[in-house]
């Protein structure tokens, strides 16, 4: 019986659910660090007065600048200081730092620090930053705020658009969002009194990468810095890039010779960690008479904030949009310009899905609008356009391995019973009042990519591979050390299932060590829906090697041929016989009776493996059902259905958990969450009264079904699925909101679909009376 494919309970849970987790904030024994942050969006620093450290102190110690670069001609290179130097570029930018015995004392010290800043005009939103006379975010390095500008077109695009039967034009806008991990960021650094080694505990996703870049910045050997990610309370991409604060903590601990801790509070996290997804897409799409999408042209602008993030850079959102916009569809002709626009706002990091929630929103709104224009059913237009020949090579050269784009959609729509829904909808339209709507979304999710994909980006450093080190100790238990850095995904449990199948042992006999640079092989951490594919693949390969070692040893002990040895149920047996030996006994022999090993065998049982695949595409169909009140603009979720194909499922329960969490974040993106700045660059959403993550009351039950197309692009057959929920949900919800109000002629292509935006769309559809709500309310039908 296989362990892979079973929903065994997560070994991670008892610790976390019993409150026994060890997060950065639990470590204690440290002085409290408080960052002094810029109160203005743009300005020149005249001076910093008070008991604080500034960039001058870092400079005096020779601390370097962060250089997050892409080697491409359209990319503006910058050197970013760890604290603001001369100029501040967003509200919340760290300018100085104080150290107090307690958090309250650090607050008191912070109040004593006076920042002398001469405010300058700020460029905040996309339009403001793109204006010809826009204030420049980096005037010394660039004559405009365009920091990266990718462009490509297939030959024949223009002719294809001219020849199209119908052209659909569409503008999609995504509000700025924050990943909002439950645990904000934080770090704790302590330097040994003798020897000078520093240990940094930080709430991060990629400990080895963080060790490298901090050591580069501080000019220290990597052997002298240990980086540990203890329990991490959510990350979602926000904890992938280097936090300037973490590097400052290491510097402070070494300079002061004492333990220091920085525990980011919620306001700080919302103001100054990382944001994402402030994007605008303009699409021009040509369909033929058969409703096939023949040509797709896009202009994408992403507000990338004031600084790039290391090492992903601020190309991550616009260039992902460029590369992946055709999504699950098959336009023969594709052209795109995609730009990253700097502004005087918080910098951007990847957030679960990165650009794909907006890409998918754009494509799926396009499909629904085109369907209406062409008189085709929304299901039918997708049926005609989804990929079905594999491998499919996209116009940007991406190889899509086999998926079930059409099958997933057919299963989802048959499950929701569209016919019955339409009958209910007709009744509701006749009755007035809140209106039901349904929205479909199909998408592809590029996952599990290694060095080849990252190398194509021409980054300053090229992430990619994952390594594992596996050993079996004399008791027959397996220790697996991984370079990935799980933080709540259940990876330890899933990897133990892979190991158990290969070695014929039980998952409870596998221990996974992760997230500590002293105890794990170098790796790139957990992000981009990669860990199951990469660390899982490396684990699979290492386990095969270890199984071969056990097989050879068993063959020696049992005097049989190695090829005849079967590992199962904790024993090595000769196939077709009852002759066998316990694996634990083999483990003893391998360490304690090495005279019995085959000639030339290395004592012990251990195997290393690396894995570095090119990538694979998951696919899914989401269907959302909503109820929209045209009078209040309120939207409530009624139902959510997911059909997911992520290849081989290692642990279906864990897969479902990933989907549920992602969908909840996607619904929040669609309806609730938005970071808002005023035009001067003051951030207005710095508490959870203003930035609105959903509660359980806003999220419906999420019905999940799986298809399982084993990938030929990965050794386990598994595909990644960590981001899919977030990618698909916004488009499904926005399509449902539009469907609910379609009879009023409403078109709403901006998320989040707040009550105010829904009302504005209803008013616009009703004839654009702009004389104020008083008139409007009198024009409205009496409220039912």
């Amino acid at each position: 019986m296989s362990w892979v494919g079973r929903s065994i309970r997560r070994v991670e849970d008892p610790t976390l659910l019993c409150g026994a987790g060890m997060f950065v904030g639990d470590i204690g024994g440290a002085a409290a660090v408080r960052f002094i942050r810029s109160p203005v969006a743009s300005g020149l620093i005249g001076g910093v007065h008070g008991p604080a450290y500034t960039i001058a102190d870092l400079d005096a110690d020779g601390v370097g600048n962060i250089e997050a670069v892409l080697h491409r001609p359209d990319y503006v290179r910058l050197a970013q200081p760890l604290l603001a130097r001369e100029r501040v570029r967003y509200v919340g930018e760290p300018v100085a730092v104080v150290v107090g015995a307690t958090a309250a004392e650090a607050e008191d010290l912070a109040e004593q620090v006076e920042l002398d800043i001469e405010p300058l005009p700020a460029a905040v939103g996309l339009e403001a930053a793109l204006a010809p006379d826009a204030p420049l975010v980096h005037p010394a390095e660039s004559e405009s705020n365009v920091m990266v500008a990718g462009e490509m077109a297939t030959p024949g695009l223009v002719e294809a658009l001219e020849a199209a039967h119908v052209i659909v034009e569409l503008e999609i806008v995504s509000g700025r969002q924050a990943a909002l991990p439950l645990e904000a960021r934080g770090s704790h650094a302590v330097t040994e009194r003798f020897g000078g080694r520093t240990t940094l505990h930080a709430s991060i996703q990629a400990p080895h990468m963080v060790r490298t870049v901090i050591c580069d910045l501080l000019g220290m050997p990597e052997a002298d810095l240990r980086v540990v990610a203890p329990d991490v309370g959510g990350a979602f991409g926000q904890k992938l890039p280097l936090a300037r604060e973490d590097a400052v903590l290491v510097w402070l601990s070494r300079r002061l010779g004492r333990a220091v801790a920085w525990i980011e509070d919620r306001s700080e996290n919302l103001m100054a960690s990382w944001h994402s997804r402030e994007q605008r897409y303009r699409l021009r799409a040509g369909f033929d008479v058969g409703a096939h999408l023949e040509a797709l042209q896009a202009d994408v602008a992403a507000n990338v904030g004031a600084w790039p993030c290391y090492p992903i850079t601020w190309g991550v959102e616009p260039l992902m949009a460029l590369a992946e916009l055709p999504g699950p569809y098959t336009p023969e002709h594709y052209g795109v310009r995609s730009r990253g626009i700097a502004s005087h706002t918080c910098p951007m990091s990847p957030y679960r899905g990165v650009s794909r929630p907006v890409i998918t929103l754009a494509l799926e709104r396009l499909m629904d609008i085109a369907a209406a224009r062409l008189g085709v059913d929304p299901v039918e237009i997708r049926r005609r356009n989804l990929q079905s020949d594999f491998p499919h090579i996209s116009p940007t050269g991406l190889r899509h391995d086999e998926g079930t784009y059409r099958e997933a959609m057919e299963l989802a729509v048959s499950h929701v019973d569209l016919g019955a829904f339409r009958a209910r909808q007709s009744a509701a339209r006749a009755a007035g009042g809140p209106q039901p709507g349904i929205g479909i979304c199909t998408f592809s999710e590029r996952t599990g990519y290694g060095t080849p994909a990252f190398a194509a980006r021409a980054m300053g450093v090229t992430p990619g591979f994952e390594n594992v080190e596996m050993s079996m100790d004399p008791s027959g238990y397996v220790t697996l050390r991984i370079g990935a850095s799980p933080h709540g995904q259940g990876l330890e449990t899933a990897l133990s299932q892979i190991v158990a199948d290969e070695l014929g042992t039980d998952p409870s006999r596998v221990r996974v060590v992760a997230s500590d640079t002293d105890r794990t092989p170098y790796g790139w951490g957990s992000f981009a829906s990669r860990a199951m594919v990469l660390a899982g693949g490396a684990t699979h390969l290492a386990a095969q090697k270890l199984a071969a070692q056990l097989g050879s040893l068993a063959a020696e002990v049992l005097e049989a041929a190695a090829d005849d040895i079967v590992l199962a149920d904790g024993r090595a047996t000769v196939a077709g016989t009852s002759v066998g030996v316990d694996i634990a006994e083999l483990a003893r022999i391998a360490h304690h009776h090495t005279q019995r090993l085959p000639a030339g065998a290395v004592p012990g049982l251990s195997a290393n493996a690396g894995y570095d695949p090119g990538g694979t595409f998951s696919n899914a169909c989401h269907v959302a059902e909503v109820e929209v009140d045209p009078d209040t603009g309120g939207v409530s979720m009624r139902r959510f259905v997911v059909v997911e194909d992520a290849g081989r499922l290692i642990n279906p329960m864990i897969a479902d958990g990933q989907i549920r969490g992602g969908v909840a974040q996607g619904i929040a993106n669609a309806l609730l969450e938005e970071v808002v700045y005023d035009e001067d660059g003051n951030i207005l959403t710095t508490s959870l009264m203003d930035y609105l993550p959903p509660t359980v009351a806003e999220i419906p039950d999420i019905e999940i079904m799986h298809l399982e197309t084993l990938s030929d692009a990965t050794v386990t057959g598994a595909k990644g699925l960590g981001e899919g929920g977030t990618i698909g949900a916004p488009a499904a919800v926005l399509n449902a909101v539009n469907d609910a109000l379609a009879h009023l002629g409403v078109e709403l292509n901006e998320m989040p679909a707040t009550p105010e935006r829904v009302r504005a769309a209803v008013r616009a559809a009703a004839g654009g009376n702009s004389a104020g709500e008083t008139n409007r309310s009198t024009q409205e039908a009496p409220v039912q």
Partner: protein
């Protein structure tokens, strides 16, 4: 993840509270509390459930010199009925209003019946979330005077009386005079809100409460409460009260809409006319969650919408 061989042990964490320095006192008796308030006046701030004050102190938006924690005082919680009024002790937690019970003169506890017995639970479920409702207090919410708070709207709509104690004295303040502007009441610095008196509504009253908020448990974007007394013999509306929160610095009564209803027989057309009138009476200030609209005020209108008593 495996425990670390040489890693950190759980030690007292960095003390994460961030308020500015303050003095703290937790008097045992109401008299002691009033003495402290009398002595420190506006340097003092009363701490009840702490659900609004503590976050504001951590943000350092509130910087009281002296915190007077009334959490240990006896006698300020619970509900009782006398002289046609329901008295709600200031320290009564919100959760108690979800299943309101009154103490009888002979010391027994019995469920609160009647119109208020239905209305209070219907409103209570909109107050925050359960962890807030088991800590936060009715009087704390009234004294905090958030214009969108459910209890403030209720107090204004039903013309509640706030019972304020001071050293050697007591006065009753009408709701109309109590709420002055956002987070500001007519309580004097040396006064302690001890109780709120709500009129017991007879069986000829009907009530409704409707709230529009972005998420369950949020402060209302807008909320409205109605209470009407029907002349049972004729079926006409003899008394009408309409209160709205979230549209101004204090919860407001909509006199024109109330007048529209008076002396009329309830009907869909009458409700629509009252809603129309209500929409004309408010001029909501926009905030982050919308430059709202009268449409929403109109939506939360007289009997039929939302909870009913």
């Amino acid at each position: 993840m495996l425990d670390d061989e040489a890693g950190p042990q759980r030690r007292p964490a960095v003390v994460a509270v961030k308020p500015a320095r303050f003095a703290y006192t937790a008097p045992d008796t109401v008299e002691d509390a009033l003495d402290v308030l009398d002595r420190f006046g506006d340097e003092a701030k009363v701490l009840s459930g702490g659900q609004s004050l503590v976050p504001m102190m951590n943000f350092r938006l509130a910087r009281p010199e002296v915190i007077v924690d009334i959490g240990h005082l006896g006698g300020l919680d619970g509900m009782s009925v006398s002289n046609g009024a329901l008295t709600v002790g200031a320290r009564t937690i919100h959760a108690r209003l979800e299943a309101p019970a009154v103490t009888t003169p002979d010391g027994r506890s019995e469920p609160l019946g009647g119109v208020l017995g239905s209305l209070l639970p219907a409103v209570a479920r909109f107050v925050g979330h359960l962890p807030i409702r088991v800590r936060g207090t009715f009087g704390g919410s009234i004294a905090h005077a958030d214009p969108a708070a459910e209890w403030c709207i209720l107090a204004r709509t039903l013309d509640a009386e706030m019972v304020a104690l001071r050293r050697g004295g007591e006065r009753a303040i009408a709701a109309e005079d109590f709420f002055e502007t956002v987070f500001t009441t007519s309580l004097a610095p040396e006064e302690l809100l001890a109780a709120v008196r709500l009129p017991v509504l007879g069986d000829d009253w009907r009530t409704g409460f409707c709230e529009f908020s972005r998420r369950a448990g949020d402060f209302a974007v807008v909320a409205a409460m109605t209470a009407v007394r029907l002349e049972l013999a004729t079926g006409v509306i003899a008394e009408a009260r309409i209160g709205v929160g979230g549209v101004a610095g204090v919860p407001v009564r909509l006199g024109d809409a109330e007048a529209t209803l008076m002396g009329e027989t309830p009907s869909a057309d009458l409700h629509a006319a009252a809603a129309e009138s209500a929409a004309g009476e408010v001029d909501p200030v926009g905030d982050l969650h919308g430059s709202l609209g009268r449409a929403r005020v109109a939506r939360a209108r007289a009997p039929g919408a939302g909870a009913s008593g």
